[in-house]
């Protein structure tokens, strides 16, 4: 066990130098690093949000909200399908529970109606094993037709919703321009936004949390606002409250225009009142529709609806052909700006709910780094001192191996660009404690072998050989716990698992190569007849 071939020594030396090179950038500022030649590694260890400060936001697509919204659109399609000539008489069309239902008046025409609605089920591409899978399932029971989402259909849609939401969020955040968050999908219907350096996530949440679906509707002025509060909306119209919830508007259900027709939106000031407003401009087709609408309805009020709230309901005073308009609705400069950003970036396809939020201010992060540094240095020093007291010169060798161990650990973490979190620092300190264990096992074994009458060199040799199995068994059991922790944990806990796992590998390496190599050099120099421990 004490013989090392030349190539082995070279390999060990190269690993150690590699670890040193990979760790080195952590001691320099990023400005200094830029001046380094390209062949040197320049990555620094990635600090977790708990150390550098920042916000972690976990969003989930609101399935119920999404389904309701989709069913509402489906109602429109069902209506037009049944009204197609020859018309099929129906009643009670609407969203009921989880689905859209409609009753066909004439029992003889149920089959025909079914055939028409079958056209709405949207077969999904790639049905499994020959059976076609549809987005919606159509069922019939005594003249009552129901369309509901199939599980596959909903999952498929959610995939698209999540992908599109990520796009929209990215555009919105880019518009803000302050932070560079990472936006990732998590699971089937979740989106994780991590924004380093953002200590107040409120602004971020304001920008992400709003669906920003804008639609333009004609106001039904047959019914006053006071009546609307008590009465039911007439067929084809719906009730929408305004921002303070004081007034309720009766607006036509079908939107004249939607936010997707917008080309641009900017915050600005009204020239007469000097209040903040949002100016918008439609694209070509939107402008054409807008011109038509304004020509036909001059003198009538129309409502600008944002996420089921009327933000403004001006009266159309003249024909507007240029396709641009203005929204004034008690804005502050900031809220006008936010709305403009949202309109430019586009609407989210569904409502997103915050499921989990964690944010750390930069002050606390800095404090955590400081105390982590002090604690690890102190812990390391105590262990080093203890080892020298217990094992003398062998202890010093173990300490050298420990130093190499920590160096390699940092080198690997830096190279893998793994995230270092506060529990991760605890993982390093624990590694320091446990790394020594490998050497303790070896040294105690050497002592035992010497007691049983072996020569010094024989005892050292046997000590390493016999301790190997024990050390492997002991570290593999810990590794199993660490791997599970990595697979299941999230955020800071995952960071802990990473450092623990890497630490176990570097520990076994440094005990069996570095400390063994140093001892073999020592043995060759001294030719000891007696053990120093």
């Amino acid at each position: 066990m004490l013989y090392f071939s030349r190539w082995k020594i070279v390999t060990i030396a190269m690993v150690v130098v590699g670890g040193l090179l990979a760790t080195l950038p952590n001691f320099f500022s990023s400005a200094t690093l830029k001046s380094w030649p390209d062949f040197l590694p320049q990555n620094q260890v990635v600090l977790g949000l708990d150390l550098q400060g920042g916000a972690y936001l976990l969003y989930e697509v609101d399935r119920e909200d999404y389904k309701t919204q989709q069913y509402r659109q489906l109602v429109g399609s069902v209506r037009s399908a049944l009204r197609e000539k020859p018309r099929i008489g129906y009643t009670g069309l609407g969203v009921h529970g989880d689905g859209v239902q409609v009753r066909i008046r004439d029992a003889a025409r149920i089959e025909e109606a079914q055939k028409r609605l079958q056209g709405l089920v949207n077969p999904l591409s790639g049905g499994f094993g020959g059976t076609p899978v549809n987005e919606f399932a159509l069922t019939e029971k005594e003249g009552l037709l129901r369309l509901t989402f199939t599980d596959e259909g909903l999952e498929q849609r959610l995939k698209g919703v999540v992908a599109q939401s990520i796009e929209v969020i990215r555009r919105r955040v880019d518009e803000l321009g302050t932070t560079e968050p990472s936006i990732q999908q998590q699971g089937a219907d979740r989106i994780l936004v991590e924004a380093p350096g953002e200590s107040d996530p409120q602004r971020l949440k304001n920008v992400i949390g709003q669906t920003a679906q804008m639609t333009f509707h004609l106001v039904d002025d047959q019914m006053s606002s006071a009546q609307a509060k008590t009465a039911r909306a007439p067929a084809g119209t719906m009730l929408v409250p305004d921002v303070d919830g004081q007034t309720v508007y009766v607006v036509e259900e079908t939107a004249l225009l939607g936010g997707e027709e917008l080309q641009d939106a900017q915050a600005s000031f009204d020239q007469r009142t000097n209040e903040p407003v949002v100016n918008f401009r439609f694209n070509t087709s939107g402008a054409r529709t807008f011109a038509n609408v304004t020509r036909k309805n001059t003198g009538r009020p129309f409502a600008i609806v944002l996420d089921n709230t009327v933000i403004s309901a001006p009266v159309i005073s003249e024909l507007i052909t240029g396709g641009s308009g203005q929204i004034s609705g008690n804005f502050t400069l900031e809220s006008a700006n936010n709305l403009a950003v949202l309109l430019r970036a586009g609407a989210l396809p569904a409502k997103l709910n915050v499921m989990e939020e964690r944010s750390v201010g930069p002050g606390l992060g800095q404090d955590s780094i400081e105390s982590g540094k002090i604690a690890s240095l102190l812990g390391g020093l105590l262990v080093i001192l203890f080892m020298v007291l217990a094992y003398g010169s062998f202890g010093a060798i173990a300490n050298t191996a420990l130093a190499v161990n920590i160096l390699l650990l940092f080198g690997v973490l830096t190279t893998l660009q793994a995230t270092l979190t506060l529990p991760g620092i605890a993982g390093i300190v624990l590694t320091v404690g446990m790394a020594v264990d490998a050497n303790v096992l070896i040294f105690e074994r050497i002592r035992e072998e010497a007691r049983s009458g072996r020569s010094a060199i024989g005892a050292i040799d046997a000590g390493y050989q016999r301790a190997l199995g024990t050390i492997l068994d002991a570290n593999i059991t810990t590794l199993i716990a660490a791997v599970v922790l990595f697979a299941i944990g999230s955020g800071p806990v995952k960071g802990f698992a990473v450092t623990l796992m890497v630490g176990l590998f570097t520990t076994v390496f440094s005990a069996f190569t570095v400390s063994r190599l140093l001892i073999s050099i020592w043995v060759r120099r001294r030719r000891p007849s007696k053990l120093p421990i």
């Binding site: 002050g363 620092i425 605890a426 024990t470």
Partner: protein, 311 residues
């Protein structure tokens, strides 16, 4: 130089005799821990219960806890705990999960920010919705269970079933004790506590495996020795290592406990407790359990001898 020794070079302590005390003692402590767990319960943090946690620092002078409490109770947020956190300037606020919608906890943060934002810096904000907290709890439990099962199989594969069973009982004892400790002192049980429990599992097994490894070796070497005597010998041989490793790990952990900052203190405390219990159990439980589980000295005899024999 006289070298430091925690235990004499050669010890002949008859540990197996102690099992008459250590078994009932551990059993009683385990039952007490379980009783505490079921009657008092763990002080689950927001990770598992849902709710809001805020760490604030006063901008001028020490924080006025009484005033913070009054302000918050005016907001009607249900159960609110306000406590000093580490330094007199710092306040930790815990607000229970709000009734109703998944989103209602979101409103809490903005309300508190509005009420206290002028005088306090918000250093940390954590909001966990009820659904996510349920998932985190399930995942945490799964993590512990899965790793125990996997380790069980590993030890079974490497040793004999008695060793695997002994290791699991020992580890289980350590976990139960740690849970009891958390219940008794009502320490905040959060996600990182699960990490602590898993580390304790790893550490305790590490210790146990080292002792078992030696027992296996001695079983092969001394085929005629009585089991009780053989177990005593094995523990005595590894005693020096067991204590040394515990000592170095504890030194590192103590440094972290006193200087590592308030945020990870309960996490480190759990590990300190775990290391102490783990050391105790690998000496006083793991080995004597093998007698109880009916390990026989002949188990490694016959043709299964794959290690080099040594006189």
């Amino acid at each position: 130089m006289k070298l430091l020794r925690l235990v004499p070079e050669v010890t002949k302590i008859q540990f197996m005799r102690w099992r008459k005390i250590s078994f009932p003692l551990s059993g009683a402590v385990a039952i007490a821990s379980l009783a505490l767990f079921f009657m008092v319960g763990l002080n689950f943090g927001i990770d598992f219960k849902g709710g809001t946690l805020l760490e604030l620092r006063s901008m001028q002078g020490p924080a006025n806890l009484a005033q913070v409490r009054t302000t918050l109770s005016g907001l009607k947020l249900g159960d609110v705990q306000v406590q000093e956190f580490g330094e007199p300037e710092e306040v930790l606020i815990r607000i229970e999960s709000q009734e109703g919608h998944e989103q209602s906890s979101q409103v809490v943060v903005s309300k508190v920010r509005e009420a206290l934002g002028q005088n306090y810096e918000f250093r940390r904000t954590e909001v966990v919705g009820p659904r996510v907290s349920g998932e985190l709890a399930t995942k945490g439990f799964l993590a512990v269970a899965i790793s125990l099962v996997m380790i069980l199989f590993y030890i079974w594969f490497r040793f004999e079933w008695q060793f695997a069973a002994g290791a699991i009982i020992t580890t289980f004892n350590d976990i139960v004790f740690t849970i009891g400790f958390f219940s008794l002192f009502q320490l905040d049980f959060s996600l990182s506590s699960i990490a602590a429990v898993l580390t304790i599992i790893g550490y305790s097994l590490n210790d146990t495996v080292v002792v078992y490894d030696r027992i296996r070796e001695n079983l092969r070497r001394y085929k005629k020795m009585q089991l009780e005597e053989l177990l005593d010998l094995s523990i005595n041989e590894t005693l020096s290592r067991t204590t040394m490793t515990s000592a170095t790990t504890l030194l590192a952990l103590l440094a972290l406990y006193f200087f590592g900052g308030e945020v990870i203190q309960s996490f480190v405390l759990a590990m300190i407790v775990g290391v102490v219990v783990g050391t105790y159990s690998s000496i006083f439980l793991a080995a004597p359990l093998l007698i109880l589980l009916g390990l026989r000295t002949s188990v490694f005899n016959s043709n299964r001898d794959d290690e080099p024999k040594k006189a």
